[in-house]
Symmetry: C2
Subunit: 283 residues, 2 copies
DNA sequence: CGCCTAGTTGAGGTAAGTCAATTCACGTGG
DNA sequence: CCACGTGAATTGACTTACCTCAACTAGGCG
C-alpha cells in the first residue's frame, strides 16, 4: 500500500470539452437562451449542463437556476484538499477543468481512492446532502471549480423539482460507477482489474470529449492506480508491464495508449452498459 | 468464489420495527395524521416513512404522496429475483419485511454482492432513475415489498420537491454504504473485513430496531458473506472460527452474537460516522 | 432412507505483498 | 555549472494471505 500522496511530476491539462456532443441540449440552448449569454460560453463554462441535459430536457428557468449556482470560481493545486473527511457543512463543487479524486484514509495509514472526477463531475455532492463528509477530496492536477453553497443547492431543488430529479440521476450514475469499482476490486484479479479500470476511464473521458479508442491523457501516477485498485504500487507496475508486453495497453508519460482496444476489451470482459445514455429520459 | 446462491436452510423473520425510535416523526404523524388511517398502522407499514422522516420533516401533503406510493403489495420467496441485471424500465420496491441483497454477476460466474437490504430500504431505486438495471436483486429470506412504479415516483418528485430531496438523501446514504464497503474490500484484511462488516450490519439493524450491541438475527449464510466480502467461503469459515475463538463475535444458527462488542469494535477499527443521524436536517 | 445444503477442516498452490536496490527525470541551491 | 535531493518508475528475492481441491459431518426434508 502506498502511504500518502505525491504530486505528479508533470501535469497534462487538455481539459477542454469538444462542443460536438449532446446536440439536442446544444440546439435547445441556442434556440431559447442564446441572447442571455454567449451560447457557446454556457456550454464551455458548464460541463455540468451538458451532463444533466443528457438526462432531462432542461427548461429556460431550470437553466437559469443552474447557471445561478455557478458562483465563486476557485482554483486548487495538487496537495490542497477541497474537502476533508469528517468535515461538516462544507460546500459542493463542480469541476471545470483538471482531475480530482475522492478517497478515504484509514487509521492504519492506508488510503482507498473511491473514484476519480473529471470535468463536469460534482465534487462532494453526497457530503452536502448528508451534511457530513465521509471522505476527502484532493486535486490530482491543478483544478478549476465553481463553488456551490449547500443552501443554494437545496433551495434550487425546492424551486425546480426537475433539477432535483436530474441531480438524483447524476448521483445515481456516480453510485453505479462506485458499484462497478466495487465489483472490480471484489472479484477481478489484478491484470483484469487494471485493464478494466483503464477502459472504463477511457470510456468516461470519451463521453466528455477528452479521450478516444486510441487513448487519453492521464495525469495519474502508479500510486494512484494502486490506491484506487487495492493493489500495491509494485504490483501495479508489474501488471502494467505485462499489459504493455502483451500489446494491449501502454501507461506511460502521462498518457494511456490503447494498443489493441478490442483485444483489451475482451481480455477485461468490458461492457459499459451503465455509461450508455440514449438522450433525455425525462421529456 | 462461491458460484450460485443457495437458499438458506432456516429463515428468521423477526422483522417488526420497534416503535420507540424517530420520535419526532412519530409525534408529528400522531398530531397531524391520526384520523386518516390508524397512526401506528402508518408507521408499521411504512418503515420508509421513518427513514425519510429522519431527514426532512415531512408535511401532510408529502406524507399523503408518500402513502400513495405504497400501491401493490407483493411477496417474493428466496431464489426468485425481483430485478435482473440489464432489465429495462422495471419498478422499484420498498422492503417491508425480510432481507434482500443486490448483486452483480460476472461472465466468469463470479458473484459480487453489493449490499444487503433490510426493512425500510429501497430496492432498485438507482435502476429506476437510470432506466436500466446494472445489477440484480434477490430475496435472502421470504420478503414482503410494496411496488412503486417508476412513473409514480418521478411524478411524486415533480409535485413535492422536498420528497425528491429526501429520496436524494436516502440514495446518498446508500452510496455511503457502498463506499464503506469498497474501502473494506480494498484495504482491510480478511479478519478485520469480516469483523467490520458484522459491526456495520449490526449498527444498521439497530437503527431500525432489529438489533442491539448484544447481537442480531441474521439469515445470511457464509456464502453470502463470502460473495459480499470478496473472499472464498472456506476462508470466511476460518475467519469466523478465529473471531469466535478470540471471544469477539459468534456467527451461528442464524444469529450473530457480539461476545465483546468494544473489543471487536477496536479490533475492526469501527466508527460509524456516516450512519449517525441527529434529527431532521431540512426543517 | 438418501439427497441436498451449510458448515468444517486439512494440505498444498499461487497471486499479490513486502523489502530493498537501482535508474531516471526534474528541480534547487551552492 | 554540477551536486544533491526527491518523487516516480522499475526490477529481483522472498514471504504470506488467501485460494483451490478435497474429504468429512450434521441437520432438514421428500
Amino acid at each position: 500500500m502506498a502511504f500518502l500522496d505525491h504530486a505528479p511530476h508533470r501535469l497534462s491539462e487538455n481539459t477542454r470539452p469538444q462542443p460536438d456532443r449532446n446536440q439536442s441540449i446544444v440546439r435547445f440552448i441556442r434556440q431559447n437562451f442564446a441572447n442571455e449569454r454567449g451560447r457557446e460560453d454556457i456550454i464551455e463554462s458548464q460541463p455540468l449542463v451538458r451532463k444533466l441535459g443528457a438526462f432531462v430536457a432542461l427548461s429556460e428557468t431550470e437553466l437559469c437556476v443552474l447557471d445561478g449556482l455557478h458562483k465563486r470560481r476557485r482554483t486548487f493545486v495538487s496537495g490542497r484538499d477541497l474537502v476533508l473527511q469528517g468535515q461538516l457543512d462544507h460546500a459542493a463543487y463542480i469541476l471545470i477543468s483538471g482531475w480530482a479524486c475522492s478517497y478515504k484514509l484509514l487509521r492504519t495509514g492506508q488510503r482507498q481512492i473511491i473514484d476519480f472526477q473529471v470535468p463536469g463531475d460534482f465534487l462532494g455532492l453526497r457530503s452536502v446532502v448528508l451534511h457530513i463528509s465521509d471522505h476527502s477530496i484532493m486535486p490530482v492536477t491543478k483544478i478549476e471549480v465553481t463553488e456551490v453553497k449547500a443552501v443554494h443547492l437545496l433551495d434550487a431543488f425546492a424551486r425546480t423539482p426537475r433539477l432535483a430529479t436530474a441531480v438524483l440521476w447524476a448521483a445515481s450514475r456516480d453510485e453505479a460507477m462506485v458499484v462497478e469499482h466495487l465489483v472490480g476490486i471484489g472479484c477481478r484479479d489484478a491484470k483484469v482489474r487494471v485493464a478494466h479500470f483503464l477502459l472504463e476511464l477511457g470510456a468516461r473521458l470519451t463521453l466528455v470529449g477528452m479521450g478516444t479508442k486510441t487513448g487519453f491523457a492521464c495525469p495519474l501516477t502508479q500510486y494512484h492506480l494502486a490506491d484506487a485498485l487495492g493493489l500495491s504500487a509494485v504490483h501495479v507496475n508489474r501488471v502494467l508491464r505485462y499489459l504493455r508486453e502483451q500489446g494491449l495497453v501502454t501507461f506511460r508519460d502521462d498518457y494511456v495508449t490503447f494498443d489493441n482496444y478490442d483485444l483489451l476489451a475482451e481480455f477485461a470482459d468490458f461492457e459499459l452498459a451503465y455509461l450508455d445514455q440514449a438522450g433525455p429520459l425525462l421529456p
